[in-house]
Amino acid sequence: MKNLIQEFFKGIVKENPTFVLALGLCPTLAVSISISNAIGMGCAATFVILFSNIIIASIKDFIPDKIRIPCYIVVIATFVTITELVMKAYFPPLNRALGIYVPLIVVNCIVLGRAEAFASKNSVMASLFDGVGMGAGFTLALTLISAIREFLGAGKLCGLTVIPGFEPALIIGMPSGALLVIGLLLGFFNLLKEKAK
């Protein structure tokens, strides 16, 4: 059980998909402009990663190595379609806000990345915890980046203006600014890691 808990926390800090593994960057740049978008996308992605991991870990012994990538894609695409339909039915405003990035979870590097690197080589339970951990790490990273970008790039937090008269730096709301924010955040976390040693 201790190992499983470790798998969970690994996804949040040590092997955070955004900050350490540099995966899932395309949706990160596009979606992390407001906190509500970030949390919504994070939950959707967590659902997909979790269930793809579980299914792929269950059937890994039956998939021939030579066609494993297309097989993983079929599994992932199935869960993305489920997510998309559930969102359209029960969360229409979020679905509108995230737009094409919901179906694009299929090409979110994190999902295929964890399937290939972990679920195809480990037990179902371990893959479950890994999936939840990675999803949580991704959500936390997205939320942190969005908070900074929403404040500096749009002058708001959760849609509310915080400081009246503050002129936001529009570049932060654009992908170039996102790269800058991620780079500086990553450097800051590395610094904290150094100090902790």
């Binding site: 002129e167 730096a169 529009l170 570049i171 932060i172 170039s176 600014g177 800058l180």
Partner: protein, 313 residues
């Protein structure tokens, strides 16, 4: 025997004093353009210049102190970055524009790469494009020349981009600076004086300015008008920030190639990109973007134009 090997990126700057001397000489060469800018745009220009320079020096002091490195504000490079940034700003921008720009220029454009001699991109230009993308409304509002209030006047290139260039501005007017624009870019005469000074003192070589300006002129002559080879190349050479960019910004040692051949390629690339953006791009002026893109290509250019070491194939 002392076996420690000292590895560092080129150019190898050994004596602090000679770095400082070079920086202050370049600053001196830039003074005529600054004086002209203040004469043309008034006290607001002086205020912007001073704020930019002081912020840049303060930023470098703060960052180097925080990183526990030796504070090198006396070598003049931070002041020079601040000065060049100010020359790329409109005279009447709010005070926090030069402050933010200088901070970004020093922090992201220079210190994060390790400090003097190690940056890939021209720091002042990094600051400028950051400002341009963040607060475009303040960066594209220019004041009328020779009236010291904040009445706005579009630059000649902006008018050209919108097809509103009805009155022909005399070339002499463009050369002396009787037009809207950034503080340091309008008076081409002052920039040329500074450039000749730098060439005579062998601080810069002719390769980059000449290849840059000639390429822009040729391309604008060939494609700048509706019929080929009928472009108003003199207008294009004297408008916008071309001379400021070609003489003072593209020639920055650290972010441009080492060999003469590489510098010619670099200057030609800058000229080509500037002309392309001016003629077909969405922005009226392309000098900053052109130089930054070529800065990115400079390591690649260096790799293929480096002088062969004697004895190897």
């Amino acid at each position: 025997m002392d076996n420690t090997l000292n590895i560092s990126a080129s150019p190898h700057l050994h004596a602090r004093e000679s770095t400082g001397r070079t920086m202050w000489l370049v600053t001196a060469a830039l003074l005529p353009a600054g004086i002209a800018g203040v004469c043309i745009f008034g006290p607001a220009a002086l205020k912007t210049i001073l704020i930019a320079v002081l912020s840049a020096v303060a930023a470098e002091w703060a960052i180097q102190a925080a990183m526990k490195k030796k504070v090198t504000i006396c070598d003049g490079s931070a002041a020079l970055t601040g000065l060049l940034l100010a020359y790329n700003l409109p005279a009447h921008c709010p005070f926090w524009i030069p402050v933010t720009g200088s901070f970004i220029a020093i922090a992201i454009g220079k210190q994060i790469f390790g400090g003097l001699g190690q940056n890939i991109f021209n720091p002042a230009l990094v600051g400028r494009v950051f400002l341009m993308a963040s607060w475009p409304q303040y960066m594209t509002t220019f004041s009328r020349a020779l009236s010291y209030d904040a009445v706005t006047q579009a630059t000649p290139l902006a008018l050209l981009k919108e097809n509103k260039l009805f009155d022909h501005i005399s070339y002499l007017g463009l050369f002396m600076g009787n037009r809207g624009g950034c503080i340091g870019e309008v008076c081409v005469a002052a920039l040329v004086i500074g450039g000749i000074f730098l060439l005579l003192r062998k601080i810069i070589t002719w390769h980059i300015p000449v290849s840059y300006i000639v390429t822009t002129g040729l391309f604008c002559w060939a494609f700048g008008a509706n019929t080929p080879f009928a472009g108003d190349w003199m207008f294009h050479l004297l408008s916008g920030g071309l001379f400021l960019g070609a003489i003072f910004m593209a020639t920055d040692y650290v972010s441009s190639p080492l060999t003469g051949r590489g510098q010619l390629i670099f200057g030609a690339g800058c000229g080509l990109l500037t002309a392309i953006i001016r003629i077909w791009g969405g922005y009226p002026e392309g000098v900053s973007y052109a130089i930054l893109i070529m800065n990115a290509a400079a390591p690649l250019i260096d790799r293929y134009t480096k002088n062969r070491i004697y004895g190897t194939k």
